[in-house]
């Protein structure tokens, strides 16, 4: 199979090492520029199966606020982001909402749920009370 070398910036910690990594057969053949093991792991993930946590909002009916913030429970494949955003764009949830309540299960076929990032009570009742 083909061998591919790429440059990327590691974001695992604030240092931001500039990595040069070579991938073949979805294996990390060589990595330079990392100052720790986590950088190597990041390079493999990022080049073979990059993932991102998606955060967004979803409309709410009858809630204290018109929107509730949501997130994917775990990072999802990067190339699914657009689909995830489209899929949740149509959702309208009813208040009350509990924090981490599932908003969309197995979103875009990723096997990962979209969950609420906060609790949301009905109109006129902020969560603090």
């Amino acid at each position: 199979m083909s061998r591919e070398t790429s440059e990327l910036t590691c974001i695992v910690c604030p240092v931001g090492c500039r990595l040069r990594a070579t991938i073949e057969d979805r294996q990390l053949v060589e990595v330079q520029g990392n100052s720790c093991k986590r950088g190597a792991a990041y390079a493999l993930d990022e080049l073979c199966a990059p993932k991102r946590t998606v955060t967004s909002t979803v409309r709410v009916k009858g809630g204290f606020l018109p929107l509730v913030p949501v997130r994917t429970r775990e990072p999802i494949p990067k190339d699914k982001i657009a689909q995830v955003l489209l899929d949740i764009a149509n959702i309208k949830m009813d208040a009350p909402i509990h924090i981490h309540q599932v908003v969309a299960a197995d979103v875009a076929g990723t096997g990962i749920d979209v969950i609420a990032s906060r609790s949301m009570s009905r109109v006129n009742a902020p969560r603090a009370e």
Partner: protein, 543 residues
């Protein structure tokens, strides 16, 4: 300012008056972007309209502002000579001022200047002290004039640019705006920088308006104490120079520079112009801290070329068309006197003036939470809880005041309109905190969709649409119909937005009894409203 002042003056009489404004609110032209000074009157050439009306206007200011509940401070003003050789100009100004009838002028020595203005440059040699100089709030006054005029029967048409004036027998007979025809006996042209365009509609070409742009810095109230009264440099041929002055709200203002511009919409600030303002301001007040500036802006002055003076009078060719044009500095100061002068000119031209017994010169100053003591504040909150909800943190403006401003006799529908009436958004964060809240209140109180709320009318929308809009357009989904556009609150873009922008400002005049012209017996001034064209969709584009 000029148009609203004239309308209010005429509302004293039994005359039907229509005040026509091309923009979404009064005061949205030159009135909102100037130095806000009430000049003493030593600058203008003796014998000119400027000279006469400046002094007369200055004398009227305390009474007008008191009647209308408008901020005004008689601070006096100083023309500062920064070198010995400039002192001769101070004496020239004093002499000219005395000729113009300005009271109390005195050239005072350096020590006295420093004693009353410790922030002034140490190189001050002397100064001309003008005790009748002062400061005011120009938009407050224009709004107050308009409100008092409306309360006394004047009809106000906003967002109504004049697109044509019909003539018959050498007289103006009707004024046309989109969807409206105003049949009238007299027309007053107070159209600011578009006054020459209006004049051309009656096929006259007596003057041309060249806009002169001036840039300003506004400083935080924290440094408002740096000067106590307007400080002028010794003036040049063209301009009074870059001034440093307090504002009635406690800010400091510096400016303007002066540059003739070709485009009447050219309200851009420039790096060079702003630098020029700071340079000039620092000559007068070396300690002026630029980092305390909260905003900068530009205003256009209407300079009548080749005349140079105000153009006030009936048009030589069209006797029932009266100009009040070319009102550059000292226009703000002269406004009350311009109103009187135009009234007199109209009377000479045949307008019958019978005083209205019902005329009420008083317009109550809107209550401002920030101006009250704690006890008064508590009493208000008791009556209406919205007085206890602070919306604008920087200027301590409550929801009650904003709601009230949105329901006053002169319609207020824009973010800037709210700002000029309540001070919300005029503070150091410049609407960063209160902006979204004010937009929401406008939406709620005026039943306007959020994306139709504008900064200053026309196409100046704040929000482009609900979030996820573009995404929803892409998503092929049967939920599209009820999911999108925050259905509960938005009505979509078909709720009859006001149309018709661009064009020129005008004042339509009613007529006294007895001179009917072509009008029916009962009507002295008839307004015909055609069906207004709907502007489809979102009012984005500029006309």
């Amino acid at each position: 300012m000029v148009g609203t002042g004239i309308a209010r003056e005429l509302s004293r009489y039994d005359v039907r008056v229509v005040l026509v404004e091309k923009r979404a609110d009064v005061a949205f032209g030159t009135t909102k972007a100037n130095t806000a000074l009430v000049h003493a009157g030593y600058d203008a050439e003796p014998g000119t309209w400027k000279a006469r009306l400046n002094v007369r206007g200055n004398a009227l200011y305390p009474k007008v502002c008191a009647e209308l509940g408008v901020s005004y401070k008689n601070t006096g003003s100083l023309v500062v000579a920064l070198a010995e050789e400039q002192t001769v100009h101070l004496h020239e100004l004093r002499a000219r001022g005395e000729t113009n009838g300005v009271p109390g002028l005195e050239v005072i020595p350096r020590e006295r200047v420093l004693a009353i203005e410790p922030g002034v440059s140490p190189s001050v040699a002397a100064a001309l002290w003008a005790p009748t100089g002062g400061i005011t709030s120009p938009w407050e006054l224009a709004i107050a004039y308009a409100e008092n005029a409306v309360a006394n029967g004047v009809e106000l048409l906003l967002s109504s640019p004049v697109i044509g004036i019909d003539m018959r027998g050498g007289r103006a007979v009707s004024v046309r705006c989109p969807g409206v025809v105003i049949y009238t006996q007299f027309v007053v042209n107070a159209a600011g920088i578009w006054a020459d365009d209006i004049e051309r509609m009656i096929n006259r070409d007596d003057f041309e308006i060249t806009p002169r742009r001036g840039e300003y810095y506004l400083f935080d109230r924290r440094v408002g104490h740096l000067v106590s009264r307007p400080l002028f440099p010794v003036p040049s041929q063209a301009t009074k120079g870059i001034v440093v002055a307090p504002t009635v709200d406690g800010n400091l203002i510096a400016g303007p520079n002066a540059l003739l511009v070709g485009d009447k919409g050219d309200l851009a600030t420039t790096a060079a112009g702003l630098a020029e303002v700071i340079d000039g301001a620092r000559k007068l007040v070396p300690g002026l801290p630029v980092r305390e500036s909260i905003t900068n802006f530009a205003g256009l002055r209407a300079v009548a070329v080749p005349v140079g003076d105000f153009v006030i009078g009936a048009s030589p060719g069209v006797p029932n068309f009266v100009n009040a044009a070319g009102i550059q500095s000292p226009g703000l100061t002269a406004a009350p006197a311009i109103a009187e002068a135009v009234r007199d000119i109209l009377a000479d031209a045949g307008l019958v003036l019978v005083e209205k017994p019902t005329f009420n010169p008083v317009r109550e100053r809107p209550t401002r939470f920030s101006e009250l003591g704690r006890d008064e504040q508590s009493a208000l909150i008791e009556k209406n809880p919205l007085w206890g909800h602070i919306i604008c943190r920087c200027e301590t403006v409550t929801e009650a005041e904003i709601v009230e401003a949105l329901h006053r006799p002169v319609p207020c529908t824009t973010l800037d309109g709210v700002k000029f009436r309540t001070r919300a958004g005029a503070g150091r964060c410049q609407g960063g905190f209160c902006g979204p809240r004010v937009v929401d209140i406008i939406h709620r109180e005026l039943d306007t969709p959020m994306e139709h709320v504008t900064k200053k009318g026309g196409g100046s929308y704040i929000l482009s649409g609900p979030s996820k809009g573009p995404l929803l357009e892409q998503a092929a989904c049967r939920c599209l119909a009820d999911a999108g556009c925050n259905a509960a609150r938005d009505d979509g873009p078909d709720d009859g937005q006001v149309c018709g922008r661009a064009g020129a400002e005008d004042v339509g005049e009613g007529v006294g009894r007895g001179d009917h012209g072509n009008l029916g017996e009962q009507d002295v001034c008839r307004i015909e409203t055609r069906e207004r064209e709907e502007v489809g969709g979102h009012a984005h584009g500029r006309v």
